[in-house]
């Protein structure tokens, strides 16, 4: 090793996110101390972000199968069958910490990263959504963070040419020091042409494509799992910069090469860049990989093996090609003016061997790194059920209350946000943003996909189990409200520090609620992401299990939106109204209270009412449909009228 060999001590290990016992496990696996490159690799692969070590135990409880599921969690994205030989590939992922430090680039690279997870499986991205949580509007940083994040999402998504058609934006003080930016991408693929990441074929070439490697984002994976404190402002230089123009070229080049049979396996370089992609491809394929880092296209001079392996430069993919197909592939990437380099081979040693300047920079067994990754069964302290609300004084004249509610940050119209997103490119958007679920046609067919993201964090904070069930049920209801049949979900689990039992209690509770709703609604989880340590100075964000739902309608012309079409149409309320005010926006926005239990979720009623409403829509008897959620009936009717520019008369029965 050219530079002085750094003595690997527990402190150096800790700076890579490895606790003392975890470092001990590394030494046992290797039978010696790791060098700095090896330590960096273990630190990244065993970070919370890549290994799910605190959450895997609970994630296993989520239902992941249904007749229409082609591929569930474990690959780059989930895959469902929509008939006629077509499949829909989708996933959601978080970029919370980078977006707090540099909102534009943090959000932009979040959009770029989730799109790569989808087209790496052979799907053309056809819709993007974003679930955003900000601090209070009055907080000094909020305005700048909102502007930066929205410009970043638009700046990247619009340039790549994928319509940004849905999502949500809410505000609460618990996000003042730790905003949430969850990006979701939905793609369309041939069901018989899905690409996976398991490396195979001893001797096959390992190929690097896309942008050159720089020093951006080093420690990105580790940072994502590092708690924020006020000193985190100094971690500035680690933020990555996105190049949406190169991403557009990468999409076209990859999809063009995927028309041929040259690719055996492919994966995008996400968190921990070349490290996680090469290791995951090797461990899934049960093979070894040998890389010569001198062949990696670099943007900066004299990059070390450590920097090359942990760099999180954007817009890069790793592929295993069939032997002899390198030139065919090179031509495609050169047409699209992208870097292309064969940087190694698949081997049968079951080991990852990295060479740099003619020397072995790292020599690690692949299997133990994946199989012996630490798995924690962290202590759990379940959230106590909240006390009943009791009587609530009227907050004044109902009309005045309604106006205040509609003007509150969470319920105010978000046109200012999605007008900055190109939501019409690809000319298939049949339901534009602003309704319950947005809808894009399956190009060239009458079919269409309804997509939405939902979560009510205040419910999850008060009662994680009810909140988790409600988040899943609301996506199911929003998709149903368009006439589409909900098929499957992805999730982005944003929680505080898992080393605190009450946070693990929130996580476990939300998972239980999600499980019940998925089972009751035949609505499996096919992909997802976990983002922990969303906490500042020991104060966690409200538990936010963002749910991304996808549904299908066979004929887009049958779909309905929230806007009534003509005077004289009759407003019909489906479902029982129990006047529940616990954790309501009425309580919070008008009375400044955040107490009481969230509304209980009756999953059988949810399913019964939903199936009835969907049938009525498909029979053509419904002109408009809107789900009743935040703010209750009055807000729901008001939103329908605003969407149509009409009035409505509604009264209490009897």
């Amino acid at each position: 090793m050219s530079k002085s060999v750094i003595e690997i001590t527990p402190e150096v290990a800790a700076s890579h996110g490895l606790k003392a016992d975890e470092f001990q496990r590394v030494v046992e696996i290797l039978g010696r101390n790791p060098n700095l490159v090896e330590l960096g690799i273990f630190g990244a692969m065993w970070s919370e972000h890549c290994s799910y070590k605190s959450s895997k135990k609970w994630l296993k409880r989520l239902p992941t199968s249904a007749p229409w599921v082609i591929c569930g969690p474990g690959e780059n994205a989930g895959v469902i069958d929509i008939g006629d030989g077509q499949a829909v590939v989708f996933k959601m992922e978080s970029h919370n910490h980078p977006s707090f430090i540099e909102p534009y680039q943090g959000a932009a690279t979040g959009v770029g990263g989730i799109m790569r997870d989808v087209f790496t499986m052979g799907a053309r991205p056809i819709a993007n959504l974003n679930a955003l949580r900000f601090g209070e509007p009055a907080h000094p940083k909020t305005r700048m963070l909102v502007a930066g994040v929205v410009h970043g999402i638009g700046g990247y998504g619009n340039c790549v040419g994928v319509p940004t058609i849905g999502g949500e934006t809410t505000f609460h003080k618990s996000y003042n020091g730790n905003i949430l930016v969850n990006a979701m991408t939905v793609g369309l693929a041939r069901a018989d042409r899905i690409f996976y990441s398991a490396a195979a074929g001893i001797g096959n070439p390992v190929v690097y494509v896309g942008s050159k490697t720089g020093r951006d984002g080093i420690h990105g994976a580790v940072m994502a799992s590092a708690e924020f404190d006020d000193k985190s402002e100094e971690k500035r230089p680690t933020v990555q910069v996105g190049d949406p123009f190169t991403e557009k070229l990468l999409i076209e080049a990859c999809l063009e090469l995927m028309e041929s049979d040259a690719i055996i396996a492919i994966q995008d370089m996400g968190a921990a860049g070349l490290t996680s992609s090469s290791f995951e491809m090797a461990s899934k394929g049960g093979v070894g990989i040998e890389l010569d880092l001198d062949l990696v296209p670099c943007r900066e001079a004299r990059m070390t093996a450590y920097e090359i392996m942990l760099s999180e430069s954007q817009e890069r993919m790793l592929m295993i090609l069939k032997p002899g197909r390198e030139d065919v592939a090179r031509q495609v990437f050169e047409k699209w003016e992208l870097d292309f380099a064969v940087i190694g081979r698949v081997t049968d040693t079951g080991r990852m061997i990295l060479k740099k300047d003619g020397q072995v920079a790292a020599d690690l067994p692949v299997a133990p790194l994946a199989e012996k990754a630490p798995m924690y069964d962290r202590p759990v302290q379940m959230t106590p059920k909240p006390a009943p609300l009791g009587d609530v004084p009227a907050a004044g004249d109902i009309a005045d209350c309604l106006l205040k509610l509609l003007a509150s940050p969470d319920l105010s119209k978000k046109d200012w946000v999605w007008r900055q997103y190109d939501h019409m490119v690809m000319a298939d958007t049949v339901i534009r943003p602003g309704g319950d679920a947005s809808m894009v046609r399956v190009h060239g067919t009458r079919k269409a996909l309804a997509v939405t993201t939902d979560c009510t964090p205040r419910y999850c904070f008060a009662d994680p189990e009810e909140g988790g069930a409600q988040a899943v049920a609301e996506t199911w209801r929003n998709i149903t409200a368009t006439g589409a049949k909900p098929l499957a979900i992805t999730d982005c689990m944003n929680f505080g520090n898992p080393e605190r039992p009450e946070i693990m209690g929130q996580f476990a509770g939300c998972i239980e609620g999600m499980r019940k709703a998925c089972l009751a609604l035949d609505y499996p989880v096919v992909s997802g992401n976990v983002s922990l340590y969303n906490e500042t100075n020991g104060q966690g964000v409200q538990p936010t299990p963002s749910i991304g739902g996808v549904g299908l309608i066979d004929d887009w012309a049958k779909a309905v939106q929230i806007a009534p079409k003509a005077d004289g149409e009759v407003l019909v309320l489906i479902g029982e109204t129990k006047g529940h005010l616990g954790q309501s926006l009425y309580l919070r926005e008008l009375l400044g209270r955040e107490d009481g239990p969230p509304p209980p979720v009756d999953l059988s009623a949810e399913r019964r009412n939903g199936d009835f409403v969907r049938a009525e829509i498909l029979a053509g008897r419904v002109k408009a449909c809107h789900d009743v959620s935040d703010g209750g009936i009055a807000v729901a009717v008001a939103e329908m009228c605003l969407a149509a520019g009409r009035g409505a008369e509604a009264g209490l029965p009897g």
Binding site: H151, G154, G155, N158, C159, V160, G161, D243, P244, F245, T246, K248, L249, W336, E337, W418, R419, Q420, Y421, D422, H423, M424, V425, M426, A427, D428, T429, V430, R432, R441, W556, A557
Partner: protein, 229 residues
């Protein structure tokens, strides 16, 4: 009738205009890669919307130098019709096909929404199916649609009836409230002197299918296809 769509690295709306053209023409236009200068002889060339070269440096600055663009300028000089939509309009001004320049929107934000447009003249192949002064609803989607030129050029464009359409409110009044990007005199599209090249910021291909909420954009495409068939 035959048409060609030039595809630049970063073009996003090439497929959208191909679908809209095929709807009217009954056959597909040629999709021409920006490096190919010798594409078939056609009656209509379309420069599509998108972010050619990422809109880096200036929108359309780099695309204007593509081999295909040199051929487009040559053929336009000999009368071939050119429809330059959004990024295509920016490329056309950078390539000298049309006067003026498209600057950053006055409010500095990207804007994607339907806008009302007043058809200034229907005495061209591009607009034959509209009535003069007709108000149509067509979407825009851009961050740099703020058309500017020196006063003399603006006066000449208006004087010689070379302004194709302007942003207006639903009943056709030209107002600053109806202007989505600060464009001089609410100009949304202009012709070259010979009226065989039209550059406009709105996307007709985004509202030429009832599924998407309207068909006002289709009339422009049908006008062209009919006139050139």
């Amino acid at each position: 009738m035959d048409a060609a769509v030039i595809v630049f690295p970063g073009s996003n709306c090439d497929r959208d205009i191909k679908v809209a053209l095929a709807q009217s023409m009954g056959k597909e236009p040629h999709m021409v890669w920006h490096r190919d200068a010798d594409f078939p002889k056609v009656d209509l060339i379309v420069l599509p919307g998108g972010f050619s070269y990422g809109d880096y440096l200036r929108c359309g600055a780099m695309a204007a130098h593509s081999p295909a663009m040199r051929e487009v300028v040559a053929r336009a000089g000999k009368g071939t019709r050119v429809l330059a939509i959004c990024n295509g309009f920016q490329i056309a001004t950078e390539a000298g096909l049309l006067p003026g320049a498209l600057m950053r929107n006055a409010h500095l934000q990207y804007v994607c929404s339907d806008v009302n447009l007043r058809i200034e003249t229907n005495q061209t192949e591009f607009m034959a199916k509209y009535r003069p002064g007709q108000v149509v609803r067509i979407p825009v989607g851009h961050a740099d649609g703020n058309y500017q030129a020196d006063e003399a050029t603006l006066d000449r464009l208006e004087g010689e009836g070379l302004v194709a359409l302007r942003y207006c409110d639903p009943n056709g009044t030209i107002s600053s409230a109806a202007n989505p990007n600060g464009a001089a005199r609410n100009i949304a599209g202009v012709y070259n002197d010979e009226r065989n090249v039209l550059g406009l910021m709105p996307h007709p291909e985004r509202l030429s299918d009832a599924a998407l909420g309207g068909t006002d954009g289709r009339l422009m495409i049908d006008s062209l296809v009919e006139a050139l068939s």
